[in-house]
């Protein structure tokens, strides 16, 4: 009788450790899945605003294109950007356009030639209204709903 109890008790102790590890593993899995779906959401266009190409060089992007915006959009010459501008006057990572506090904001990402809003240079981070024209290199984009 005594031996059976001792064996059972050890069974419970081992089960505790096993369950602890399963909990850690499940938590990690859930975390990774949450992260994956959050990233997928971040990569999806919000569908509330577009940058419409007004002026362009070399047809990339083409004039008249409506580029859908995500929550955060990197703009620049590099292929890693969300919106790629094929113009040597644009920097590799030129500017960021993001949606925060219910409004659109543009931030210069340390570009060589600067980012313009309606012809004026963006100092740090500025609010964008619908209809504003964004100048990046020789390309002009208008924020539209």
């Amino acid at each position: 009788m005594e031996i059976t109890f001792a064996v059972l008790l050890w069974g419970v102790r081992i089960a505790f450790l096993v369950v602890l590890y399963l909990f850690v593993i499940r938590s990690f899995g859930a975390l990774q899945r949450a992260l994956g779906s959050e990233m997928a959401v971040a990569a999806r266009p919000l569908g509330i605003a577009f940058l419409v190409v007004q002026r362009s060089v070399r047809g990339a992007p083409r004039v008249g294109d409506r580029l859908p915006l995500r929550a955060v959009n990197a703009i620049g010459r590099d292929a890693g950007n969300d919106l790629v501008i094929n113009d040597e006057a644009a920097s590799a990572r030129h500017a960021l356009v993001e949606f925060a506090d219910g409004e659109w904001w543009v931030e210069d990402a340390g570009s060589t030639n600067g980012t313009l809003v309606n012809g004026e240079t963006v100092r740090s981070r500025e609010r964008l209204q619908y209809g504003d024209e964004l100048g990046i290199g020789r390309v002009a984009l208008r924020l539209e709903q």
Binding site: L9, R13, L20, D101
Partner: protein, 449 residues
């Protein structure tokens, strides 16, 4: 210039995105809570079984109450159609379950008290989910929080309400018991730091004047930094609480670094802390004792004196080995005040390196999740808030586990959620609720699960 940070975030799901999808099942949370429930039951059966040499049904009562509590929090979140994170609450519940098992193991006469505190903590969690309705509103009252925080911090120094327990004057009498105001102070200060740094980070990080590689910030903005240093030192001197000082100052430096990206501030702050620490070592007996105990606990004059607790803790760690002595089978009761200062060593003795590793991994997952929530948060205030809150848990764990393992001098910081103590449990659950709410704001703004 971003000046609209005080603007209210949308209080209801906006038309775009996933706002239209109705009642939110929190299946991930529920499936993780099942494991937490199993953990609580197995832990109690093992510990009570070892004590009474039988499997009585009495051992199930406490875990059953705990499971009901956690499930009602889960149902509460579903009823609120809460969209925030689903992993942090189960992890916090897992820590709390382990904590209850350890209180039963190490100080079973305190179990009822700890269980009551757990229920209060659950209530505080639910309240923090509801209030304030607009999380960003917290930023508007930042000086109120700072004032309240400093007031609470110095409260133990006042003659009638203050109380000195085990050499540290960090308690305030409330009715029959006493609470540690420091625990609430850490939340208030993180909220204040986040709001302050959001407002002034531009000035602090884009400084025009430099001496060599060092930026010279405009003097007025330096005042809060130096004031913080002064207050941290004051706490150390008068309340004899080295742990709180390190934690308090560490959080501040980390948030300053996060907000400005200037490593210089962190270096300057650490240098100030080291200088302050050195001076304190020279001047104050209790600091000297802590450091000497850390450096040579096995010396003849310390082994049975001030080093006794640490030495017994180290023996416990050694006794644990790879897989531990088994829950309820070790001798952690040999460590004085083991249920509050040395729970980590007790857990490591009975579940071994394996158990300790799993516990530390859980803390790492908590920090990881907290940082991801911070990265995703839509405003600087919310980002700094989430980062600061997760950092509290990480730094506390680091300081106490390091102290228990004799990596750094031992301090009276509690192991978050696990160590015995009511004030700590309640504030940590409020902290989890705040993190959940930051993640909910992100999910509402950006669309997400």
């Amino acid at each position: 210039m971003n000046k609209s940070q005080g603007a209210a975030l949308p209080a209801s799901p906006p038309r775009w995105g996933l706002g239209g999808i109705a009642p939110r099942s929190r299946f991930t949370e529920l499936s993780l809570l099942v494991w937490v429930g199993a953990l609580a039951v197995l832990g109690f059966v093992a510990v009570v079984g070892a004590e009474t040499s039988s499997f009585g049904s009495a051992s199930i009562v406490v875990p059953a109450i705990f499971i009901v509590l956690v499930l009602s929090l889960h149902v509460f979140l579903i009823a609120r159609r809460f969209r925030g994170d689903q992993v942090l609450m189960p992890i916090a519940a897992g820590f709390t379950a382990i904590g209850l098992v350890l209180v039963q193991r190490l100080a079973s006469d305190l179990l009822l008290q700890q269980l009551s505190w757990t229920i209060i903590a659950g209530g505080a969690f639910a309240a923090t989910i509801l209030i304030p309705r607009d999380l960003t509103a917290l930023a508007r009252f930042k000086w109120t929080w700072a004032f309240l925080g400093v007031l609470l911090l110095v409260a133990p120094l006042f003659p009638i309400i203050g109380r000195e327990i085990n050499g540290a004057r960090i308690w305030v009498k409330v009715g029959p018991g006493s609470i540690e105001p420091w625990e609430a102070v850490k939340l208030l200060l993180v909220i204040f730091f986040a709001a302050y740094l959001e407002e002034y980070r531009e000035v602090l990080s884009r400084s025009q004047r430099r001496i060599g590689p060092f930026p010279i910030p405009p003097i007025p903005y330096l005042v809060p930094i130096v004031a913080m240093w002064g207050i941290a030192m004051l706490v150390m001197i008068f309340e004899k609480d080295i742990g709180a000082t390190a934690l308090f100052f560490g959080i501040f430096l980390a948030m300053l670094f996060l907000a400005t990206g200037e490593g210089f501030y962190a270096v300057l702050g650490l240098a100030l802390l080291l200088v302050g620490g050195f001076v304190a070592y020279q001047l104050f007996g209790h600091v000297q004792v802590r450091v000497d105990t850390w450096l040579r606990p096995f010396d003849e004059d310390l082994r049975f004196g001030s080093g006794y607790q640490l030495v017994q803790g180290l023996y416990a760690l050694a006794n644990g080995g790879l897989f531990g002595a088994g829950l309820g089978n070790g001798m952690p009761d040999r460590i004085p005040v083991v249920w509050s200062d040395f729970v980590f060593d007790a857990f490591a003795e009975e579940t071994g390196f394996a158990g300790a590793l799993a516990l530390l991994t859980l803390y790492l997952l908590f920090l990881y999740r907290g940082m991801v929530i911070a990265l995703r948060a839509p405003t600087t205030f919310l980002q700094l808030l989430a980062a600061g809150l997760s950092f509290i848990i990480a730094l506390q764990t680091l300081v106490i586990v390091g102290g228990n393992a004799r990596l750094i001098p031992l301090t009276g910081i509690t192991l978050p959620f696990v160590a015995y103590g009511g004030s700590s449990l309640v504030t940590n659950w409020m902290l989890v609720a705040l993190l959940l709410r930051v993640s909910e704001v992100s999910n509402r703004m950006r669309g997400g699960p």
